[in-house]
C-alpha cells in the first residue's frame, strides 16, 4: 500500500512537490505555530515605552550601517554575560523591535545595556574615530553621520507603518513625528516640550551631537544608543532574584 502510494506520488511530479512541501513545512509549522501565540508567554512590562521618532530614525541608521553584524543586543542567561554586560535580556524588551537586532556575532561587545553607560560626547568621538577613544578598536569610522542632515520628512510614514503593525503609537505621535525628532535634539526649541509630553518625562532631550542648531544622523544614532536597554526596567526587576544562579548548567 505505501509502496503503491509512493509510486503514484512519484509518477506525477506535482504529488512529489506536495510531499516535499508537506514534509518540510510541517516541521516549520509545528515549531513556529506556538510562537504566534507567544505573546501569552512574554513578560508584562507596563512601564515600557515606544521609541521616539528620533530614536527610531537612529535605529534605522544602526541597521543601515550594518552594526548588527558585529554587535549583539541579546545578553544570554550565563553568569559571565550578566556580569560583563548587565541583566540578561527579556523577550519583552524587544517587543517593539522590527526587525529584532539580537545579532549573531560579537566582533564588538554586546550593546543591549549600552544606554546611559557613556556620555553623548564619548559616543560622538567614538563614532567619528573609534581609535581616538579605544586605541585597539577595529570598528570603522562613521564620520559621515556628523555631516549628513537627518531626513525627517518621512518619519510620520515610519511611525504610521509601525502603528499599523501594532506598535502603540498614537495618531498624535504619528502626526508630530518630524517636529518631535527636531525637538528631542534641540532642548531649547519650542518643539522640545511636546516630546516629553508624548513620550514621558524621562525621555532624553539633548543636543546629542553637541550642535543644537543642526539635526544630524549622529543625533539620531546617539539618541538610539542611549536608549538601548532603557525602554523598560523589567530586566532589572528580575535581576535581584536571579543573579548568581543564572548559569543553568
Amino acid at each position: 500500500m505505501p509502496e503503491f502510494f509512493h509510486r503514484k506520488l512519484e509518477r506525477s511530479a506535482i504529488g512529489f512537490v506536495l510531499a516535499i512541501i508537506g514534509v518540510s513545512a510541517i516541521g516549520g509549522m509545528v515549531e513556529i505555530a506556538p510562537l504566534f501565540t507567544i505573546d501569552e508567554t512574554v513578560e508584562e512590562a507596563p512601564d515600557m515605552r515606544v521609541y521616539t521618532p528620533l530614536e527610531l530614525a537612529g535605529r534605522n541608521i544602526y541597521t543601515r550601517e550594518g552594526c548588527y553584524a558585529c554587535h549583539s543586543q541579546m545578553i544570554r542567561t550565563l553568569r559571565d554575560e550578566v556580569e560583563r554586560y548587565g541583566p540578561y535580556s527579556l523577550a519583552v524588551e524587544s517587543q517593539y523591535d522590527r526587525p529584532m537586532l539580537w545579532g549573531s556575532k560579537r566582533t564588538g561587545p554586546d550593546l543591549a545595556r549600552l544606554g546611559g553607560k557613556y556620555s553623548d560626547a564619548w559616543h560622538v568621538a567614538h563614532l567619528v574615530n573609534p581609535r581616538d577613544v579605544v586605541p585597539e578598536s577595529v570598528m570603522p569610522r562613521y564620520g559621515w553621520l556628523q555631516r549628513n542632515t537627518l531626513r525627517i520628512d518621512d518619519l510620520p510614514r515610519h511611525l504610521k507603518a509601525m502603528q499599523r503593525l501594532g506598535v502603540p503609537y498614537t495618531d498624535e505621535m504619528v502626526e508630530s513625528a518630524a517636529a518631535d525628532a527636531m525637538g528631542q535634539a534641540a532642548p531649547d526649541s519650542g518643539f522640545a516640550a511636546g516630546v516629553a509630553g508624548r513620550y514621558g518625562e524621562e525621555t532624553n532631550i539633548r543636543a546629542f551631537d553637541g550642535e543644537p542648531g543642526r539635526l544630524t544622523e549622529m543625533d539620531a544614532l546617539v539618541a538610539y544608543l542611549q536608549i538601548l536597554g532603557r525602554l523598560t526596567d523589567a530586566a532589572h526587576a528580575t535581576d535581584a532574584v536571579e543573579t548568581g544562579s543564572t548559569q543553568d548548567e
Binding site: 505505501p2 509502496e3 509512493h6 510541517i26 509545528v30 505555530a33 506556538p34 501565540t37 501569552e40 508567554t41
Partner: protein, 65 residues
C-alpha cells in the same frame, strides 16, 4: 475551541513525534520494497549513459541511438 499557547505547544510536542515516526517508517518501507529495486538500479546507472539526446524512452538500453 480556545487555541492557546499551551495547546499549541502540547500539540507540537506530541503529534510532532508521532508524525516523525510514521514518516520514517513510510520512507523505509518505500526504500526497501522489493519491487522498487529494479527502478532504483536503473536510475542509478542510467545517468552514466553517454547518449546525449532528449527523448529516449525507458525501453531502450543504454548506448543505443
Amino acid at each position: 475551541m480556545e487555541l492557546d499557547h499551551n495547546a499549541f505547544v502540547a500539540f507540537a510536542k506530541s503529534w510532532g513525534l508521532f508524525y516523525l515516526i510514521a514518516f520514517s517508517i513510510a520512507v523505509l518501507v518505500y526504500v526497501f520494497w522489493p519491487s522498487n529495486r529494479k527502478r532504483f538500479d536503473r536510475a542509478k546507472k542510467s545517468i552514466l549513459d553517454d547518449d546525449d539526446r532528449p527523448g529516449k524512452g525507458p525501453g531502450k538500453g543504454p548506448g543505443e541511438r
